[in-house]
């Protein structure tokens, strides 16, 4: 399980966009870097991030090796009622991780 950080405001206004900031610990090995012996290290990156709110798609990102290590992705969400934000990261070597965070509409 990779360490993750998800930042959501403690409460949000109905229908108004709010920012979600996500970070996941991951080396994002590009597939172009040689090791000390000159052999190219195989690619190992997060390839996709997807966010849903109570099942409805909010945002998705396809990531390539040009995304920095410990990938940070921020986006905006609009909620009509309190609910659950579900964020899934997928990547090479069958990597998959889902985290959930509550959204509180005041």
């Amino acid at each position: 399980m990779a360490r993750t950080l998800i930042h959501v405001p403690p409460s949000v206004r109905r229908g108004e966009p709010f920012e979600v900031r996500t970070t996941i610990a991951h080396p994002m090995e590009t597939g172009y870097r040689p090791d000390e012996n000159g052999r190219v290290l195989p690619r190992d990156i997060v390839t996709r991030l997807q966010c849903t709110l109570d099942g409805a798609l909010v945002f998705s990102a396809d990531l390539y090796p040009a995304v920095a290590a410990n990938p940070y992705v921020a986006f905006q969400v609009r909620a009509e009622r309190s609910g659950e934000l579900r964020i899934t990261w997928e990547g090479d070597k069958g990597f998959s991780q889902t985290e959930t965070v509550a959204v509180r509409v005041e």
Binding site: P17, V58, F59, A66, V67, A69, Y72, F75, Q76
Partner: protein
């Protein structure tokens, strides 16, 4: 005054042309790749400049983690936007990231941090559902760390 000798000029041009093809001129080959990558994304359409914005520092302290923000102007409603993509000119690979916005999205806006191998152009492209495409190109200077391990 030098006499203009068309035959000699032709021979010289051939010579330098050969040399030029052996040395990859920075930018020329990459630009072709960049245009091709963008065309693949837009389905062949050449994007028009404008309506999409790429926010990135033009002087980057370290190419390992460069903050970027992509956004689309208010005139484009969320359902009209199919995808927002970012391309580079000189990394080993042209693609950087692609973003899609669903019904619960707050705004056609995304931020991330990217890697830049060297000073180069970055291009953000917005592809709309009606097939039209828009772009914003920024030239970025990247400095590399002086003290490495």
């Amino acid at each position: 005054m030098t006499v203009f000798d068309p035959q000699r000029r032709h021979a010289l041009a051939l010579g330098t042309g050969l040399a030029a093809s052996l040395v990859v001129r920075p930018g020329t080959a990459a630009t072709g790749d960049l245009a091709a990558a963008i065309a693949t994304f837009t389905g062949g359409r050449t994007p028009e400049p404008g309506r999409v914005r790429l926010d990135i520092s033009t002087l980057v302290e370290n190419g390992n983690a460069v903050p970027v923000m992509l956004s689309v102007d208010d005139g484009i409603a969320l359902p009209q936007l199919r995808s927002l993509a970012l391309f580079n000119e000189r990394n080993p690979q042209r693609d950087v990231a692609r973003f899609r916005f669903g019904p619960a999205s707050g705004r056609a806006w995304a931020a991330t941090r990217i890697r830049l191998a060297t000073s180069q152009k970055l291009v953000a492209v917005a592809l709309l559902e009606d097939g039209s495409a828009f772009s914003h190109t920024v030239d970025v200077v990247v400095t590399l760390a002086a003290c490495i391990e």
